[in-house]
Amino acid sequence: MSLLSIEGLDLAIHGVPILKRVSLAVAPGRILGVIGESGSGKSMTAFSVMRLLPRGADLSGRILFAGQDLAQAGEAQMGRVRGAGIGMVFQEPMTALNPLQTIGAQVAETLRLHDGLSARTAAARARAVLDRVGLPEPEFPLGRYPHELSGGQRQRVVIAMAIARRPRLLIADEPTTALDVTTQAQILALIRRLVDEDGMGAIFITHDLGVVANVADSVAIMRRGAVVEAGPTAQVFAEMRHPYTRALFAAATHQPARRPHAAPEPLLQVQDVVRSYPGRGGGLLARRGAAKRAVDGVSFTLHRGESLGLVGESGCGKSTLTRAILGLEPVQGGRIALAGQAVDAHRPVPRALRAKVQVVFQDPYGSFNPRHRVSRLVTEPFHLLDQPPAGIARAHAVAEALEAVGLRAGDADKYIHEFSGGQRQRIAIARALIIRPELIVLDEAVSALDVQVRAQILDLLADLTDTYDLSYLFISHDLHVVRRITDRVLVMRAGRIVEQGATERVFQAPEHPYTRALLAAAPDLTKAG
């Protein structure tokens, strides 16, 4: 018997069709994984069930839950269902909580709203719920504010709010996407435990096949607003009847064809680099807190033609290290040398040296000025050259860079909003490539992309090393991607490199316990069913 049954759901927003004949079912005590790329309609399905749709939404079909059709329910009726019958957890724990209210007040609000409890009883119940999601009393009193918690802890608070009333259905929309792998593993285990203990049904929405493989009992694969394939997880993963399912899997495990190009001579040398920040506070009366070492004695060498991975969780210091390598962050100790020349942010870095290294960031949209044409965006690094090409030579360079990344020369006259996320990332790579740098730093460059697009960009990166004399420093929290695109890998934790070595060796026989923990936590497609 289904707890929730969605039948033939159609949704249009301002006349644009978003969902087409979506049918899904969730059983008590079971987790339904809903997989899809961005724009597939998976989140809109969840918001349809909660009836928290944007203005102009036109919903038809049936959403049967606990004997009611939610598609027809009025606002007052939905107010009783939300939070009580159905709890919801969101993607971004950093912004899902009210920053001005204590966590205790926010959890208690759910209880008071529906049960009319006294403040004292609600607080006691909130305490019990927070204990249950792994935020025990001594460290996490009710009076804590969200900003005093980490991302994973905040997500636990959001989960506590969602399950406080023991709802029969839990909807989790990308609940672990913004979290580190080890935190993700803990949150997945928590959701699984709560589902098992309470006999809740759950809808788990994600773009990550590996996460679904680990947590879901059944799956539904969505594409362009429709469910293309659904069934028990093990069966769907084993049979893969629909071509789109097969394409998703192929992309998720795609191995770009790479030839090693590493030469013996070093390109980037990092020796005993230390970057520390003064401690918090200080001033007239209080003493400063202890200095924080974001990068703590890091040494490594990147050879010419090599693709070097740098993995670590948020806050491990990899971004600080990257900025130091780019000459944007003054270091307190050690030295950094690129092609034999010292990089030191205390002094202006010579343009010729800057021209040797380019960077591609995670967000391909945020790093472009939306008012400039692609030709101008791509030629930005030319200011690093003493004699930048002009006129026809410049147009030629733009065309060559765009074609090298798989775009057309004619795209130079367009604006950035005319391109998809994957194409934008190609433009970012073209911009890095145009002055023929020796090193490209890829800072989470494929993390925001859908799996199929990501596979294409990884192929592109592999191909470029055949054509150009390029080295990569590939920074990512995604271990599987790093494994597929790098020759060697550095594992960073709390400002230190805890392990480094040939990528395959590190992945197959990790030596440091932290590396082993990271690998164990990373969702794995082969664990399906």
């Binding site: 107010g79 939300r82 909580l97 001005l100 504010y145 009366l285």
Partner: protein, 314 residues
């Protein structure tokens, strides 16, 4: 919280010192000798010189600055060059009109702006919202003295509910004083309320789009409950900033309204003092205003911290 307040207090004091230096030395370089001005065009040079000595204008600027600051700390703002009366007393008389007027106008502005801004934000895009946008646009565009004249024409001349101008003084009864300040306060408040309502509306619309408001709705709160319990307080920071700025403006910027209603306020005092090169009065009033502005800024900073726990850590 205490440390935050203490740090704010330190910068408060520093700002006062810097402001006093700027006020004193910039007025020192303003052309025009008060003594020569007071003696008239045909004065003999010896007489002007004697008056300069009497006023203390012959001393070095640094000496005069120290004397001026030292006096102010003891409540002695010096003696007006023109009226030969203590500046402190002159300012105090005027302050009893200007300060209540500013507070009155600010209270009206806030009382109008909050409900209107919240009401419009909750109905974003509707006809009601459009009406609020249009009306507040008008309120900002129309000068306050024009409002003042309309108010006088309607409520003083036609209806006779209020007097057209003047101030009876507080000693003749609180309600009489308040009544005399009502029309000026409304004229001052309308443009300020328009600005504040727009700030309230846009800050609240931004906040209503935040993830935590969606979380609140997913808990089962109605749109109105989510707005009141979660969005409103988060939208207050920009609103508090504007309220702080408006108070400072209302205290000193009421000169035109004071003229329309014949109110003996600070604005008219400083205006006359500038015309008569009564520099010591100008300096006194300006310092008082600087003090008021910095105090308000300090209070707004404390209000930020009261609203937002993230700011309480020094």
């Amino acid at each position: 919280m205490l440390r935050y307040a203490f740090r704010r207090l330190i910068s408060f004091a520093l700002a006062l010192v810097v402001a006093s230096l700027v006020v004193f030395f910039s007025l020192e370089v303003v052309p025009g000798d008060p003594a020569a001005y007071m003696m008239g065009l045909n004065a003999r040079p010896e007489a002007v010189e004697a008056l300069r000595a009497e006023l203390g204008l012959d001393r070095a600027p640094a000496q005069r600055y120290v004397a001026w600051i030292g006096g102010m700390l003891q409540g002695d703002f010096g003696t007006s060059y023109t009226y030969r009366a203590p500046v402190a007393g002159m300012i105090a008389d005027r302050l009893w009109v200007s300060l209540p007027l500013a507070l009155y106008a600010l209270a009206l502005s806030t009382l109008i702006a909050f409900p209107v801004g919240i009401w419009a934000a909750a109905r974003r895009g509707s006809a009601a919202d459009m009406a609020v946008i249009g009306t507040t646009q008008l309120g900002i565009a129309v000068p306050n003295f024009w409002f003042a004249m309309i108010l006088v024409a309607v409520f003083a001349i036609n209806l006779g509910w209020f007097s057209a101008g003047g101030f009876p003084g507080w000693e003749n009864g609180f309600w009489g004083g308040l009544k005399a300040l009502t029309l000026p306060a409304i004229a001052l408040a309308l443009p300020q309320a328009s600005i504040l309502a727009r700030v309230m509306r846009s800050a609240l619309i931004d906040t209503l789009g935040e993830d935590f408001v969606r979380t609140a709705r997913a808990k089962g709160l109605s749109p109105g409950q989510a707005l009141r319990r979660h969005a409103l307080r988060n939208a207050l920071i920009p609103v508090l900033t504007i309220i702080g700025l408006q108070f400072s403006f209302l205290l000193a910027g009421a000169i035109i309204i004071e003229n329309v209603f014949y109110l003996p306020g600070l604005g008219r005092l400083v205006f006359q003092a500038i015309q008569q090169r009564d520099l010591i009065v100008v300096e006194g009033v300006v310092m008082l205003l600087v003090f008021a502005v910095i105090t308000v800024t300090f209070l707004v900073d404390l209000a930020y911290a009261a609203v937002d726990p993230r700011l309480r850590r020094g």
